[in-house]
Subunit: 131 residues, 2 copies
DNA sequence: CCGCATCCTTGATGATACTG
DNA sequence: CAGTATCATCAAGGATGCGG
């Protein structure tokens, strides 16, 4: 409408933008991988399937709650497969799915770049902080 | 010490792990790129330098505060260069640094993968949610 | 035009205790 | 062993108003 106020126009633009953001694939992926523990879990599972307690030990920084939450999220997105073996007590194993294997190269690509340029980043930080 | 309790041992492990995490280059990078607006800003600057107000219009979803915060963070890490032109009123221009140009391929790599696999991810989500 | 300071709300994270 | 439930905390994000 031509009678929209500036504020209304801004709000409309923001709403449209939010819609776009919500479906932007890249952003969805970064949201998952950027999570505090997701990359850690994926990297761990890259070596092979792991049981819940093994992951707990491998990633001491994550609380049980966060580990579970991360695993659920990765499972939901189809990166990780959870399989339960009936026994006493039950055994639960987490493994990468095919999709999970496929996302690994993206992760290592990021890691390689980070390792190669972290020195420059830290130098930039010191320059910035020292004035 | 051999006299450590289990709780103490866990705490020590966690502290060591936190130290490791703090210096893990990949995680530092993901922390920045995983930020709500960082990738958006970088993608925008990929087309050329932009003034503050231009970025505000290009990214209506970000509040002024968040945009500034994001730009400061990117500037600190050396991805973005901020240049002020004395005038009335002052003009501020943001541009990618050499390092910023170099990180772009990583970003597009993520984007390409996300675009190629978003369908599978969404399918997995529906499967997971529908039971 | 650019952007800092302030206040406020909300979601993410974590510690702890408990269950099948 | 493999979680869930609850409560507490804290930082991120956002709205608003002011200053250079």
């Amino acid at each position: 409408m031509a009678t929209m106020t500036a504020a209304q126009r801004r709000e409309a633009a923001k709403a449209a933008f939010d819609d776009y953001m919500a479906v932007c694939p890249a952003h969805q992926l970064l949201d998952v991988l950027g999570t505090k523990w997701a990359s850690m879990v994926l990297t761990n599972l890259a070596d092979g399937p792991r049981r819940y307690a093994e992951l707990t030990r491998a990633i001491p920084g994550a609380s049980a709650k966060m580990l579970t939450q991360t695993l659920r999220s990765l499972e939901r997105d189809g990166f990780v497969v959870r399989s339960v073996t009936p026994a006493v007590p039950v055994q639960v194993e987490y493994a990468l799915s095919v999709l999970g294997e496929k996302v690994l190269p993206v992760l290592t690509h990021v890691q390689d770049w980070a390792n190669a340029h972290i020195v420059q980043i830290q130098a930039a930080r010191e320059r910035y902080d020292n004035q």
